[in-house]
């Protein structure tokens, strides 16, 4: 068991080196530019080769973790077609993980894999959101809230979190996204949607909403916004220009 443990540990190290090489764009540029990376490559290649040689040798001599897995899997009493299917999916996903690149339906599960450097954030954070007027009151259309079955105020079955995420973030800059939302709100008796500025001060914990249509237009054009600028309806821009 100790031997298998060492084999697994060595495999993890070798695969981490291999995947790092496979996932590095402009590999030769980095080799030429960074001494540390060059050293890493010079160490990695022998490690990967040694791992391959030892793994193949172990397999040929019928011992080691890889031989155990293959032998055990082949001896399992499960449908042959299922075995082929499982092997195919495992192999395809392994390739996807190795290259760090998905190809539907195979996936490297790289959600939130990007690395964001720590930075100095403003104490006040602002987001643009659609809002509407009802009974003289300004009401925010909180799309992410609408994706929650228990918190939704306007939408119900069929308007899933995925829908609201796409409408709120991914498609927010698209005119058609606004048209789709606007049509849905019209069905619910809301004639016009406007864009306002929703802010939170993390120091004081104060949350405010500014319905000023011109401030929102300016903020949309000048600020560096999460997921980019939002689509501002033409009638809002026009009214702002008139004012």
């Amino acid at each position: 068991m100790r031997r298998e443990g060492l084999q697994i540990g060595f495999s993890i190290v070798a695969l981490a080196c291999l995947m790092t090489i496979l996932q590095t764009d402009n590999l030769f540029y980095y080799i030429q530019s960074y001494l540390l990376f060059k050293v890493f490559i010079l160490i990695s290649i022998p490690v990967i080769c040694l791992w391959l040689v030892l793994s193949i040798r172990d397999y040929i001599h019928h011992h080691g973790i890889f031989y155990y897995c293959v032998h055990k899997f082949r001896s399992l009493l499960i449908p042959k077609a299922a075995k082929y299917f499982i092997v195919f999916v495992v192999a395809a996903n392994f390739i996807s993980i190795s290259f760090g690149e998905p190809r539907y339906p195979f996936y490297d599960v790289g959600m939130f894999r990007w690395s964001t450097a720590s930075q100095d954030y403003d104490k006040k954070m602002s987001q643009l959101k659609y809002y509407y007027w009802q009974d003289g009151q300004c009401k925010i259309l909180d799309l992410r809230k609408e994706g929650s079955f228990f918190l939704a105020e306007h939408f119900g079955w069929g308007y899933t979190e995925e829908f609201m995420f796409a409408a709120r973030f991914r498609n927010r800059g698209e005119k058609k996204n606004f048209e789709f939302l606007s049509a849905l709100m019209k069905e619910r008796g809301i004639d016009s949607l406007w864009v306002g500025v929703h802010s939170v001060n993390f120091e004081t914990h104060d949350v405010t909403f500014d319905p000023d249509i011109c401030n929102a237009v300016t903020f949309n054009q000048t600020a560096n916004l999460y997921y980019g600028p939002i689509y501002v309806p033409d009638y809002q821009v026009k009214r702002c220009d008139e004012d």
């Binding site: 299917f85 999916v89 790289g110 939130f112 954030y121 954070m125 796409a166």
Partner: protein, 306 residues
């Protein structure tokens, strides 16, 4: 606690007897989830807005064009209807291949326009796998109408191996997610500094369930870098710890609890909810004995088809 890895690893577990009810429940919840996720108006939104996400798939262009032209509403309706059949366990053997294909095609359209993997990532493999299983032997209309012929076999693994494969799938999802954050190696350290966690919590605060419920931030998200670093390390620890599923069953309960806590936290801070999908896959991690007791299934023998 001495762990016998030879006896407790996932391949050895696949040889053991399982619970027909556990597999059937997995089928039912999977059918429910497919019905729910394929019924969303997201497909109409994607079709209308039509923003390409520059994603890649394994299908040829011609097929992708065909999928795009029939996804809304044809594939969507077909997937929903077939998922109801799966849920009820009616003609399961015959509908499963068609449901697998329609689901893969429909969510290919979803992925092509949204670049978000959530429902299909968790579900597609277990769904296709059910094609090779006897998932409608109990709790199904197939059984009610006697469309399945049963035989007693005490030592059969027919109900166990599919769920063990699904538990392997569970491990793959989380371990791959952990690996993706750490590789390439030079990116892993910066990730653990917590910048990504802080970026998400800071920018999504006003769009988070936490804000909708409590209206105020938990603390000053512009400070306390160590909290974000701890959260990042914890998430990697939880994700990588799922590899234990492959070696032993003894930590399944702890893994389920940790994963659900992680999903609950993500849900609160404004990341899309994966929780119900994780719960569905978690059915595979529960020991069959629990279902045997719950449904008063005979300990041995277990039903098996001719």
């Amino acid at each position: 606690m001495k762990i016998n890895f030879r006896e407790e690893n996932i391949l050895s577990r696949m040889e053991k007897p399982g619970s027909a009810h556990q597999l059937a429940l997995f089928r039912i919840f999977l059918g429910l989830q497919i019905f729910y996720s394929s019924g969303g108006r997201l497909f109409q939104l994607s079709d209308y807005v039509a923003v390409p996400a520059e994603t890649k798939n394994i299908f040829p262009d011609m097929l992708n064009q065909l999928i795009a032209s029939i996804a809304v509403p044809h594939l969507q309706i077909i997937t929903q209807v077939l998922s109801l059949f799966l849920l009820m366990g009616l003609w399961t053997k015959y509908i499963l291949p068609f449901l697998s294909i329609s689901f893969l095609f429909l969510f290919s359209f979803y992925y092509a326009t949204n670049n978000a993997p959530i429902p299909w990532l968790y579900i597609w493999f277990p769904l296709v796998l059910l094609n090779f299983t006897r998932c409608s032997d109990v709790l199904s209309l197939d059984k009610y109408f006697r469309l399945r012929k049963l035989q007693i076999n005490a030592l059969s693994n027919v109900y166990r191996w599919p769920l063990e494969v699904v538990s392997g799938w569970f491990a793959y999802i989380y371990v791959a997610a952990g690996v993706a954050k750490l590789l390439p190696i030079y990116k892993g350290w910066p990730w653990m500094q917590g910048g990504t966690s802080q970026d998400i919590m800071y920018n999504r605060f006003l769009d988070s369930i936490y804000f909708y419920v409590f209206a105020k931030p938990l603390f000053d998200y512009t400070e306390y870098a160590w909290i974000f670093a701890s959260l990042s390390v914890a998430s990697i620890f939880i994700e990588l710890s799922c590899i234990l599923i492959l070696f032993t069953h003894r930590f399944h309960t702890q893994i389920i609890l940790l994963v659900l806590c992680m999903h609950l936290f993500l849900f609160l801070i404004g990341v899309m909810g994966f929780m119900q999908l994780a719960i569905i896959l978690s059915i595979a991690l529960i020991q069959p004995g629990f279902f045997n007791k719950l449904f008063k299934e005979r300990e041995t023998p277990v039903t098996q088809a001719v």
